[in-house]
Every structure is written in C-alpha cells, then in structure tokens.
C-alpha cells in the first residue's frame, strides 16, 4: 500500500504538515476559522519530533502487524481488508489508550475530550494526503512501501528506466 514517509534530510520542522492535518480534520475548510473559532479545536493526527537539527514528521505507518489492532480491547481498531488502512470505529473506542501503550511510533493521538483514539487516515478522499501535498520542502513522500520482493527486483526495475 502507499504510505507517507519522511525525508529527514530536508525536513526543517516547520510543522505545516501538522497545520494542514488539523485543517483537514476540522469542521471548517477555512484555515483561520478552523484554528481561531472551532471549539474544541481540531486535533492533528501527526506529530513533529525534534532533536537538534533532526526533525521527523511522524504519523501512523499502518504497520503490517498493527500492534494497536491486536491490542485493542474492544475491536474498535481494525484493518480495512481492501484499503489496508488501520481505522478506528468511534462507537466502539472508549479511550482506554491501550493502543497508545503499544504503538512503537506513538502515532495514536488522544482526543481526551471525546475519549477517542485518533490516527492518520491518509486523508481518505484526497488523492494525496494533505501533509504531503502541502510540505514546502517536499520532505514528505507518498509512495508504495518498499517491500522485500520489490527490493529483490529493484536492479531489474532500474534497468528499465
């Protein structure tokens, strides 16, 4: 499946990915209204971690083994068999945060008010996730995940190009 990856080399930690993620999941499509008027304020489903010059835009990687899905106490976290996206069923999510404890990326965000787990949905309905589309440095890419079979074939693939 296609996933979002970060090119750390060119990520400067500007956090526009976070801003556009919030807007995408806000009620309003107007940036100013979404940020200044909405209550509760829209929450981002990604996070920027920084240490020195290293900035990383971190979101759910839709892991193959999805520890969050395996650990979910209620069955709210599921993998969609077609899109392979890991999704949260809001009715069954009770905000127990077991998913938070098992996620290796800390990619599950907590909506503490609604007591619901939030996570990257790869902006369903958009051709490209908004974080990728709006990254000024092209530090985020939305590409097929490099899997082991592809890696084996990669020299041949390169030969064709």
């Amino acid at each position: 499946m296609k996933k979002v990856y970060v090119k750390e080399e060119v990520c400067i930690g500007c956090r526009l990915c976070e801003v556009y993620c919030q807007l995408q999941h806000a009620h309003s499509s107007d940036l100013v209204k979404a940020f200044k008027k909405e209550s509760p304020p829209p929450l981002p489903r990604l996070r920027v971690d920084e240490r020195g010059v290293v900035s990383l835009s971190v979101r759910c990687q839709q892991c193959d083994d999805a520890p969050c899905v395996q650990a979910c106490l209620t069955g709210a976290l599921e993998r969609n068999p077609e899109s392979l996206l890991v999704t949260v069923d809001e009715d069954r999510c009770i905000g127990c945060w077991t998913c938070v404890l098992v996620c290796p990326l800390a990619a599950i965000k907590q909506d503490k008010e609604q007591k619901k787990a939030l996570k990257c949905d790869l902006c369903q309905g958009e051709e490209i996730p908004v974080c990728v589309a709006n990254c000024p440095n092209e530090a985020l890419v939305y590409v097929e995940e490099p899997d082991s079979t592809l890696k084996v074939e990669s020299p041949a693939t390169q030969g064709h190009e």
């Binding site: 209620t74 938070v100 404890l101 098992v102 290796p104």
Partner: protein, 447 residues
C-alpha cells in the same frame, strides 16, 4: 469415531484468546472444521466494556468484539451457553455438561480466569457480586434498579477490576468504599506513587479507600441481604451490596492433573501444553514473559489475543513462536490516564530508576544493564508506546536514558538507526531523486 467426524479445531473459550486463534486459523485454513465452546450465551464481547454496560446501559450489540456475523463468515460452529464437563486429552474428545460429546483433532484451552472469592462469614449473602462477565454487570444493574435511593457498596479489592467496578457504581450514584489488603490500591500494576494519582481522583469522586485491611465478615439481614460488613480491626462499614474484586486465578479445572500446570497451564514458545495437540493461551496460560525471561501468568487482554494468534497459526500447521508478553495495563478511570508495563518497581539495587515529576505528570522508567525492564507513565502517556517497544525489542538505551522521561521525548531522541528503521524511510536510492544539496558551509569550531 472416524477421523473425519472430528472437529479439526476445537476452541474452548470465546474471548480475546479464542478469537485470536480462530482468526489466525482462518488466515491459513479456510475450510477446516472449527468450533468455539463457551459457557456464556453471548458472541464474543469486550469484557472491559461491562463497566460501560453497568453505568450507561451500553447494550451487547455495542460491546461486540467482532462483527455480528463473525462466526458465520468464518464458518465457525458456535457452541455457546454450554459448559465443558471433562476433556479426554489422549482420546481427543470432550464431554459437555449437557451430555453431548465432541471429538477434536486440535484443542485450545482459552478458558480465562475465575474471580477469587475467599471464604468469609456472610460471603453467601444475596447481594455479593463479582465483576468479570457481562452477567455480573447485569446482576448488579438489576440490584441497583431494585434499590432506588441512596445505595452504598463495599468493593473488596482495589485492583483493576475493583476500580473499574467502582467507577461504574459511582456513576450510578452509589457511594463506594474500597477495602484493599495491601498498602495501596492497584498494587499489582502500579507503584505507590502512580497509584496515589489514581487514589486522589477516587477520593475526589467521594470514594472511601481503606488500605492495609481485610473484610472479616459480611453482615446478613434476616432475609439474607447484605447489611454492612466488619473489617479485621472490628470497624463497621455500611453497605447494601458487595463486589468481590480480589483478582482472578487461571481457570484450571479442565487441565487439572492432566496438563502440566503451575499457577496457570504451562505452555512453550509455540503455546503448546504438555499434551500433544493441546494448546493454551490467555489468562489461563503461563506463557513466556519477555521482561522476566520466564513463564508467568499475565492476565491482560492484548496478551491473550496475541498468544491466541500464535496458537492459531500452530494449530493450522504453521511454526509460530510467541515473542512473549508482559504485564501491561492502561487505565482511564475517573479521567486519569495511567499506563504501566513490565516491572513497576525495581526488585533490587542493581536496577536504575529514572523519574520525572510535574503537575499531575509522573514518568518512571526502570532499567537494568542498559535495558528497560518497566515503565509507569501517568498524566502524559503519549510517548509511552515508544518506551514500551524499546523494552520489548531489548534496545540498549544507556546513551539516551535521561531523555526517556523528558517532556519533548520522541522518535528524534533515539539513535538515527532506530528512527530510520521505525519510520521506514525509503531506502537511500531515494536520495538520488532529491536534487543535490549544496555542501554545508564549513563551520569553524572553537577549540
């Protein structure tokens, strides 16, 4: 009986472990006959939601662990509301209490745990409940509906089940007193300081907590109803109902004398028991604990599901090994978020403890020889998953251990090779697509 009449996969237990096994089996074998036997009459539901059932009347349909057509879709024969009387392990068959016999090729015991109910005077009173199953919540609900007006409850045991029952009762307007034998509530899953944050929230919700004492006697009215209780020091506690929440113990009755057991049914890394073709997982099993490096009973939902998946793969002819689980819990009671995993207190002085405290925030990581062996995070739990996985993957953290509890700890705090692997940044070929970056200006360092 001809071999073809035998159920290929027979699962006893219809909760996290049994469902995990069933799902893993169906990923490998779509056709093999499968049956799940459960003494409960319901499709698999999320046990932690019985608290929601009690306080907000959440119906079974909204408690289901899997889609309503799960059994049909997966071609699983559901034998619900039937209790297994006896298993003939060498004969590959079992007998239900209804008298029916089932023959099987491979068997999973995912029978879970049973609440520990100590013998005590008055323990047979009418309104003494446990709180692990939907029927328990229904029984308490029925009691509360009958007893309008001010009701007082005594919760014996301040563990996870006791606190969960307490929250539901408080939200139903019941005045609750928790009596905990040890020095602090939640003592099996939290250290004293972490537990104090939860205790504070409980007290603010007008819950009385008595620690270091036990209940000596439950008073019975002439009609057999609960009429208060007496503690070991002679103190009287007013109560109209009692919830016994001392803990659960592996439900071993089917295994007794026939399978190798300790506290639970002992399983190897393939989750196989001492009998051929017989597996166990979940709260009944004593499986590998990756923190302690030995088999332990870790009665938590996620481990049951993960262990169940290993069982399922092996039952279906695969060769899967359990990486191991450890005690791990996430609490959200009375609005306080606390997580813990592995050890919550250092067993001796050879362990190192790193702590950060703040306003309602408590972060503690326990280390030994550069490896994480436990964590307790309260208030701010967002990054706890990173720590948990560093522990699980046995990553050496000596070089950045102080960072683990810092406010802005994140993936960027980890050594580059770790975050690269974690974020799966595409292989370096990508770099060729990026336009070459100007070489950085030479930085002159002060000597």
């Amino acid at each position: 009986m001809a071999k073809t009449d035998k159920i290929k996969y027979l699962i006893i237990g219809n909760s996290a472990g049994g469902i995990g096994a069933a799902e893993a089996i169906r990923e490998l074998d779509k056709a093999g006959t499968m049956a799940i036997v459960s003494d409960e009459p319901y499709p698999a539901y999320s046990r932690p939601l019985i608290s929601e059932h009690l306080f907000e009347g959440r119906p079974l349909e909204r408690m289901l662990y899997r889609a309503p057509d799960f059994y049909e879709q997966n071609n699983i024969q559901a034998v619900f509301g039937e209790k297994v009387a006896q298993v003939d392990f060498s004969g590959h068959s079992l007998k239900l209490e209804s008298g029916r016999s089932l023959a099987w090729q491979k068997l999973l015991l995912a029978t879970g745990g049973v609440p520990i109910v100590p013998r005590m005077e008055g323990g047979d009173a009418k309104d003494v409940f446990t709180f692990t199953r939907l029927d328990d919540a229904k029984a308490i609900d029925k009691f509360l509906n009958k007893h309008k007006g001010k009701t007082q409850a005594l919760v014996i045991g301040g563990g996870l089940i006791g606190v969960s029952a307490t929250e539901a009762l408080v939200r139903r307007g019941v005045k609750v007193c928790i009596v905990e034998m040890k020095d602090w509530i939640l003592n099996t899953i939290l250290d004293e300081e972490g537990a104090a944050l939860e205790a504070k929230a409980l007290v603010e919700a007008d819950v009385d907590i008595i620690t270091g004492h036990t209940v000596a006697k439950i008073n019975k009215s002439p009609s057999g109803a609960v009429d208060g209780a007496v503690l070991d020091d002679g103190r009287s506690i007013a109560a109209d109902l009692v919830v016994v929440a001392i803990g659960v113990t592996p439900r071993l009755e089917l295994a007794d004398g026939q399978l190798k057991t300790n506290r639970g049914i002992i399983v190897d890394r393939r989750m196989a028991t001492s009998q051929p073709d017989v597996y166990a997982c979940g709260d009944v099993a004593e499986a590998y604990d990756f923190v302690f490096g030995e088999n332990r009973v870790t009665p938590v939902w996620p481990n049951a599901y993960v262990g169940g998946r290993i069982v399922g793969q092996n039952m279906a002819g695969g060769k899967a090994e359990y990486q191991g689980g450890t005690a791990m819990n996430s609490l959200k009671y009375f609005g306080v978020n606390i997580v813990s995993a592995g050890m919550v207190a250092p067993p001796d002085k050879s362990y190192e403890v790193i702590i950060q405290r703040g306003d309602g925030i408590y972060k503690k990581v326990i280390l030994k020889d550069g490896l994480i062996t436990g964590l307790v995070f309260a208030g701010d739990i967002e990054k706890s998953g990173i720590i948990y996985n560093l522990m699980k993957d046995k990553v050496r953290v000596d070089g950045f251990k102080e960072e683990l509890v810092s406010d802005d700890f994140g993936l960027a705090s980890l050594p580059e090779e770790i975050w690269r692997a974690r974020l799966a940044v595409p292989p370096s070929e990508e770099a060729f697509i990026v336009p070459p970056v100007e070489p950085p200006e030479e930085v002159v360092m002060d000597e």
